[in-house]
Symmetry: D2
Subunit: 342 residues, 4 copies
């Protein structure tokens, strides 16, 4: 039983962490902070948690997070980098669900996120928390940078292909579609129901913050820089990411076998039979990525379909998975929910 805290619990990744940790057998939730909502019962803001989470939000100053074994940051970008150092120094492990420690190139991070990095000395130490790539490093990490939602779906879809060296990595295409919860629980006009419902659109086609993160990770996998065109879209679903990935084949291989071998021991990646079409609802509210391959008309373009729940495998679930690894728990502990369908 470890003691865990959450910084910034009023957003969607926060409430999802609460849902998952509230059912986790080895975690005692000690504190959840919110500057704006200090004193409010968590269950008053999120009635789904009535009778299940009895905490009040507390002011960050009063949260005694240094007494926790682990602190999750479910905060906007820019917060974790200011507070991680003190927690680490107090012997607290940190899983940051924001983007503060995902990008290794500080200048690149500062360009895309528009601020100066407050803890550059921690960037190198931070482990990029995609267990399917970095499981061993996560095991001994003090500071884990939990991947973004798009990056999780796109990486898991592309990885076996890129590691195989069989495709043209200079012209990868990722056409990705996200549910609206991906935009967070912020009051903004463009994500209002009357704006986002019965509507489909691309956004950030010229450049999205997840691009450098995906590019960095795929380049590491390839051993050299990859070229990637990444176009995100907003689809009127609450949860879910669907990535449709295109790569040109340079060299023949048994791609289906490649994927099955790569993910054989992964508890949270499910390779569907060749030619399947995974649906976002097939992973709704669960920590799973489902992947399927297509080769239209037997041509030289391979199509990979990859789905996750952006709030689970794309955020809170992956954070819990990282926690399980960091503390030597069963990697699946607290993450065995069956997806909710319909």
């Amino acid at each position: 039983m470890i003691k865990a805290g959450i910084v910034g619990g009023t957003g969607y990744t926060g409430v999802e962490l609460l849902r998952l940790l509230g059912q986790h057998p080895q975690v005692e939730l000690r504190a959840i902070t919110s500057r704006g909502e200090a004193g409010t019962a968590v269950a008053d803001m999120f009635p789904s948690l009535r009778g299940r989470v009895d905490l009040n939000f507390v002011d960050p100053g009063a949260a005694k997070l240094e007494a926790c074994d682990l602190v999750f940051f479910a905060t906007p970008n820019g917060v974790a980098m200011s507070q991680a150092r003190a927690l680490l120094d107090a012997g607290v492990k940190v899983v940051d669900l924001s983007a503060d420690f995902r990008i290794k190139d500080r200048a690149e991070w500062e360009k895309w996120y528009g601020m100066q990095h407050a803890a550059p000395e921690l960037i190198a130490e931070a482990v990029y928390g995609l267990p399917e790539v970095n499981r061993e490093k996560i095991r001994s990490a003090r500071l884990v940078a939990n991947p973004g939602c798009y990056p999780t779906a796109v990486q898991l879809g592309f990885l076996p292909l890129i590691e195989s060296g069989a495709v043209d990595i200079a012209h990868l295409i990722a056409d990705a579609k996200s549910g609206v919860s991906g935009a967070g629980r912020k009051a903004e006009v463009h994500t209002l129901f009357a704006e986002a419902s019965d509507n489909f659109k691309a956004y950030g086609a010229g450049g999205h913050r997840h691009l450098p993160e995906i590019r960095q990770q795929l380049s590491i996998a390839a051993g050299k820089p990859v070229g990637l065109t990444f176009v995100p879209h907003l689809t009127p679903i609450i949860r879910g990411i669907h990535a449709t990935l295109y790569a040109r084949i340079d060299r023949e291989a048994d791609f289906q076998a490649l994927y099955e071998a790569r993910f054989k021991s992964e508890p949270f990646v499910d390779v569907l039979p060749f030619g399947s079409h995974p649906e976002t609802r097939s992973v709704r509210a669960a920590n799973v990525c489902r992947v399927a391959l297509h080769r239209p008309q037997g041509g030289d373009i391979l199509v990979v379909l990859s789905v996750i729940d952006n709030l689970v495998k794309g955020a809170a679930g992956q954070a819990v998975q990282n926690m399980n690894i960091m503390f030597g728990f069963d990697e699946c502990a607290g993450l065995t929910q069956i997806p909710v369908l319909p």
Copy 2:
């Protein structure tokens, strides 16, 4: 550990039973039948169950249901009444999620359901499976008639009021709204996405099959016949029922206290603070009913708001709750999922 079977597992109550039983610590799922899909892997039809439910659908004839301890009927009306007798004779307990055994007045049942009852001798034996009313009878029942979704939401909302004798029971009004999964997984035009989405309508205002069921149960609670106007509506959500109930106060009482006392020991009924507005998503995918009271302008009309997930507390979850009671398990076993929000 008991052995359970499901007859008719291709509908929404079927897949929801699978989701819940697949996480239940004391149930081994032995067989799930489908005439049309015999041989198909359950997880091929419902990819959300991949890796979690390894059964194939089997033909009813080959299912050996008589070797089970319990059989659930998740079938269209008219099936359970033909098959229950043989199972009961073989010592198998039965929970029927269809309407075959809900109405005690056989003629009334035959009028509303348009067929002759095939097992009239079992009607009297069947226990109406609303644990908040019949827990003791359920404990020793062989045959449980699992309540309808609307009847669950409306009864739990009205019960304390009617038992109190403080309102005019001759003119109760239940304005109820259901998500589209309530119509089942049948190919019909009026529940197509392009018909039901971005649309709201009443249906069955002249008379809906759940009316006699609700009326029967409220009359039992009142000790005399009640008068009820019941208007169901279709709202474009997947899961959820919201019942808005109106009753005229005949005699003053502390209604909030009444509700809190009535449901104090109920694990699955949550009485919100007076003046709250429960949302259907606050119970999404969980076995909970949340209820709240209003007294607009301090007048003589009491308004009760009651929400459930029609597939859980309104169907499969309640069936599992009944099973837990019938077999002496913890009543909450397998039913502790936290609602999925957002």
Copy 3:
């Protein structure tokens, strides 16, 4: 051809006015104001208007509204009452889509709207713009108070019944459901897609601002005060209101004939055959109210179903209808769009 202006054009009633006026044969749109968006092309904010509305938003100070024949206020409550006097003095007619002039009892208005009325002397002059009730007064009005969306649906549904004197007007019940655009184009958390989608809830059950408006108008129709319980709900559709109305019959009458006679000459009220269920999509994007009657189980409760598009017959369309009457145009001019289904 008249010259029209719009004050406050960045909300949903504003853009809907633009859609309707952009297709109106006798209106030249001269100015649309917005303090925050002055200089922005209307079509940049609302790309649906590209090539159809060439105006820029202008600062209210620069709009020269006094040169218009008519000004629409599509503003938050509290704006029109400060500006109407000057326009009327300049000979400009005014249709106010906000609530500033709807309530005749100033103290009542101030109580519900939480501010002091800035133009109390205009309250009496303002004509409540429900053409089905006040057509003759609208014809000669200088200042029209365009009805609220709920009040339009509820009044058109209840009017013939109340005028008939055949029902108990002390205990009317209006259970109303609104699409999310009714909350306006304001950035708020509770109307975000991820909050309002796949969710149904009541709100304001204890008291909603449209209650006094409906009560006032129904009381005028009845010739004495009515008692009304009004419970609004939020349903995940963009446009549409569905009012389910309940009244206890005091005296028998041919209610269907009553409704058909009452609305026989009304171009925008459609009485469906007895026992029909009007859907909100059957009026989507059109200036129509459809009404249907039910008498469940032949009892003494009459149920009326009434649907409108909250942005059209419930706001901008009714405003254009009022304009047509005020200026002697064909009442249907610019309002002949066929509803969009599916």
Copy 4:
């Protein structure tokens, strides 16, 4: 004023034709056929048409279509090819909204549509009804093959690029997303609300019937065979197609200028400023295609975003546009509706 008939009016393209023709100044609708619904009032099936379309469905045998000037086929594939000959011989012009005459290569058609072609001699005569490509041929056509919805969105998005010769036409990628009405008004499980709502998926990635149609037309534009990967997706919106198109640049050009020049005189194609993100709702219920260009990170991949309403520019609206051209009407007659937003 011409006399028009519709064969097969019970689907979504049928009711949309009725909506558009019901507002068209030069068309008298004479007959609408349905074998299954003969005798039913059109407005009983589609209440949105109450008071606007007074016809009953008639049996095809009794429809006297040969007395019409024009007949639209809004039928499943395989019907128009059996009936077109007789109508043409009677001097009636035909616009076929199905796929019967879209593919010039008869063997290719028979392969993808799984039936023998009943009127092969008409294939060559049929004019592919994309006005932006074939306006002059449409003017004198007797038989117009109205394009598919995906093909319209993809062609209008790719055409200027392909005509320019500046991109690699061997590896075009079209990632397309469709609203659910594109699947038609057929009772099927996978398009039920409870299946398609809150869900996103690809389908037909291995080969969709619109692929050969798009490939044929793009090859004509290129003057040589193109290579195309086409992956369609289902997004939970009622109407709308969003095509995201990827092409590798072979030769530099001012692509924005290219698009603006190509569509300068087109009344129904709107080229947005470079870097825009067109939304499907910006064309909802209107006969418009909006297109925008992106060049992510200034690289060698050009991204084109193209949106239409699948039932209007993708079906019924384009059919009316073709009719306008065939009969010498103003090309915009009856097609000036402003898109419905929100």
